[in-house]
Symmetry: C2
Subunit: 213 residues, 2 copies
């Protein structure tokens, strides 16, 4: 049974982006600190088309997060297209010619458009009829593999609130952001029961994983 | 140099109490789940005057949190006295005749009163001139040992915002509360740099510890 998996970096105080997101600060002020643990890793650099890199306790966690993923779902801002708050080229997103997903990607949007085929196995499909439809299409495309939820926070919250996330991987950076976008917000009325899967302590990050039961 | 240490149980979504705190639900609805990991432990039962109990990976963490503590600071609601939202006997707090602190305890309040001497080494002192004064008095009383910050959240936030906490121990329970009192709130403008100390995975909880540098 295909599962929906969310892997996301988060500050100790619960933010997945800092305040004042802009073209200059797409992750908000200070938000880039959330991802400092991942950029040096060979396990991250490879899928992003770069050579070399480190191997440490996070490497297996990153490999695991990419394993058995057959499709991806993301929000419009994560794609970068359409009339967004600081919109890049509305028809191309900001992932370049060879995006790191290497799967079909289902982008939640209000603006219908034709699929956008990129190199390396990534095709962006634009879904205008809601999160359940996007998930159903992604599961269909994943063909038995799992679906990765790419974010951002608003989309993650919608899937959490709807009880549709099966596995939650939090990569907790040892930083405080004080303000910005919280992952766990707007969830009043949700009913999520967690089962701890594992904890990995690594340089500059603690990896927590929970199954939603 | 005496340090101020905060040890607190928190939900995965960042709450230290659930919504709708009341006499029936002093930790808010669902809040008691945050502490389920600690009650069965011999290391918790002993200082609370109870016999028996379990030993697991959390035992050392609890022992460590009690080690080298010479004084305690807490907020008025944590003491339970004074005209609180659902006030217990205003002159006695709700810790009984033999409170589990076994140190001088400095209670932040707006109502001056004489110290309250209990059994087992706990004396409650009431401080009306702010968090820095309470900390200074507690450090003086601790006589070289550390000071434990007992909570609640509002007091913890004030000390965090003022940069006065030296060590932060979070006991992350695998539960979601969705609403209630967040630990990390009202901190805009704070400037806290964290250094990871250690991670302990235990039944029903993950223990994170950070030093504030």
């Amino acid at each position: 049974m295909a599962r929906l998996r969310l892997d996301i970096s988060i500050s100790l105080d619960g933010y997945v982006a800092g305040p004042n997101q802009s073209e200059e600060h797409p992750l908000g002020v200070g938000g880039e600190q959330l991802h400092e643990w991942v950029f040096p890793l060979a396990a991250w650099r490879g899928p992003h088309g770069r050579e070399g890199g480190e191997v440490n306790a996070s490497s297996e966690v990153v490999e695991e997060s990419l394993e058995n993923i057959g499709a991806t779902v993301m929000g419009r801002n994560m794609f970068g297209g359409g009339p967004g708050p600081w919109g890049a080229d509305p028809w191309d997103g900001w992932w370049g010619d060879d995006p790191p997903f290497h799967t079909p990607v289902f982008v939640l949007t209000h603006h219908a458009r034709e699929p956008l085929v990129k190199q390396g196995g990534t095709t962006f499909h634009f879904v205008t009829d809601g999160i359940e439809s996007a998930l159903a299409q992604a599961k269909e495309a994943a063909d038995g593999k799992d679906v990765s939820l790419g974010g951002g926070a608003a989309v993650a919250q919608q899937y959490l609130a709807a009880g549709l996330i099966d596995e939650l991987g939090l990569h907790v950076a040892p930083v405080m952001l004080y303000d910005g976008t919280r992952l766990f917000d707007n969830l009043a009325g949700a009913d999520i029961e967690l089962e701890p899967v594992r904890v990995v302590e690594a340089p500059g990050v603690v990896h927590l994983k929970y199954r939603v039961v």
